[in-house]
């Protein structure tokens, strides 16, 4: 799981140079909205009646960026200016395309990098939002942030199936053991 397929990578010209890490296998059960909004891996968040679809009640059913921003506002996010790392806040960036509307959403990780679920394909971690700028995803047009308690942040880190934090924890444990043995 080190790289995306060549076909997929070629859809994002800036991604290889910006660097990324694949964090999961393909899974058509959930999309980026589900992943960024609630780390939901069981439902596909989109207006519609297809199997596995979910859409919060009371939210309009069009595909504008504003509508998808409303989904996050319903979850306690507020609109902010940019995607800079702010202590105690988790941010999401909504990508939009002219003539269509909402295209993608990424969420910020505690270290300032970003996580994205590429439609039904893999989850990736990428260093910058520009990495996913492309004809298919457009560019980040709306930013939202939400205050996250330290406890929630901690729980989230360890509930993530991402191997990254588990590896970090393992390294810490190994270091502690070494110190003790010395």
């Amino acid at each position: 799981m080190s790289r995306l397929s060549f076909a997929l990578e070629s859809r994002f010209p800036k991604l290889p140079a910006a660097g990324y890490k694949v964090e999961s296998k393909k899974d058509p059960n959930y999309n980026c909205v589900a992943w960024s909004a609630k780390r939901d891996q069981t439902r596909w968040w989109e207006p519609g009646t297809e199997p596995g679809f979910y859409w919060p009640e009371g939210i309009p059913t069009d595909y504008s960026v504003e509508t998808f921003a409303a989904v996050f506002q319903e979850l306690g996010y507020v609109i902010c200016d940019d995607g800079r790392l702010e202590d105690g806040f988790e941010k999401v960036a909504l990508y939009g395309i002219e003539g269509w509307g909402f295209a993608h959403v990424s969420h910020q990780l505690p270290d300032g990098s970003w996580a994205s679920k590429l439609g039904p394909d893999e989850d990736i971690e990428h260093g910058s939002l520009e990495a996913l700028e492309s004809d298919d995803y457009g560019s980040p047009s709306v930013f939202l942030k939400r205050w996250v308690s330290r406890l929630e942040l901690h729980q989230r880190r360890y509930s993530l199936r991402s191997g990254r934090y588990r590896r970090q924890v393992k390294v810490r444990i190994v270091r502690k053991r070494r110190r003790r043995s010395v």
Binding site: P28, N29, E46, P47, E50, G52, A103, G119, D121
Partner: protein, 169 residues
């Protein structure tokens, strides 16, 4: 009989009666299409179905027998075209986060325009490389076995079971 002889003289490879058995084994699609092309006159039979060029049909037109070329794509050609479009659709939209956007892609609409003949290929594709084909299958078949499914995997199983029951898989 005179007209059949005339056909032979014009360069038709074989007279109709020699192909009678083969003609009967062909499905009715070519014959129906031949009738449509020739303005509703009766089609006696179809011969020489070729994988790339459709078929030739004997039709009765203005009280005379004639051979018409029917530009009906064969099963092989339909399958080839379906796989080309499906691959294009997958490559160009597979990473889209919104399905409505995937469904508006020209390759997807091209597959829908091919009609119910592509249903067996879609079902095979669904079995080999599961993807969001449910809407296309519902549109093409009028059935909806995935109604009530709560997950993607359940919907895939429901459609594959339906395909097996219908003898399409």
């Amino acid at each position: 009989m005179h007209d059949l002889k005339e056909l032979r003289l014009r360069g038709a490879k074989s007279p109709y009666f020699e192909h009678r058995e083969r003609v009967c084994n062909f499905d009715g699609m070519y014959a129906r299409r031949a009738e449509e092309y020739t303005g509703g006159t009766s089609c006696l039979g179809v011969i020489g179905r070729s994988p790339r060029h459709g078929a030739r049909a004997f039709v009765l037109r203005r009280k005379k027998w004639s051979i018409v070329w029917i530009n009906v794509p064969s099963r092989g050609l339909i399958e080839e075209r379906f796989h080309l479009l499906a691959e294009q659709w997958r490559n160009e939209t597979g990473h889209y986060s919104i399905l409505a956007r995937r469904y508006s892609h020209p390759a997807y609409n091209g597959i829908l325009a091919m009609g119910p003949r592509v249903v067996p290929f879609i079902l095979r594709e669904l079995a080999n490389r599961p993807d969001r084909w449910f809407s296309a299958l519902s549109n093409l078949t009028g059935a909806d076995p995935s109604r009530g499914s709560t997950t993607f995997d359940e919907a895939v199983h429901a459609w594959l079971d339906w395909g097996r029951k219908q003898g399409l898989l």
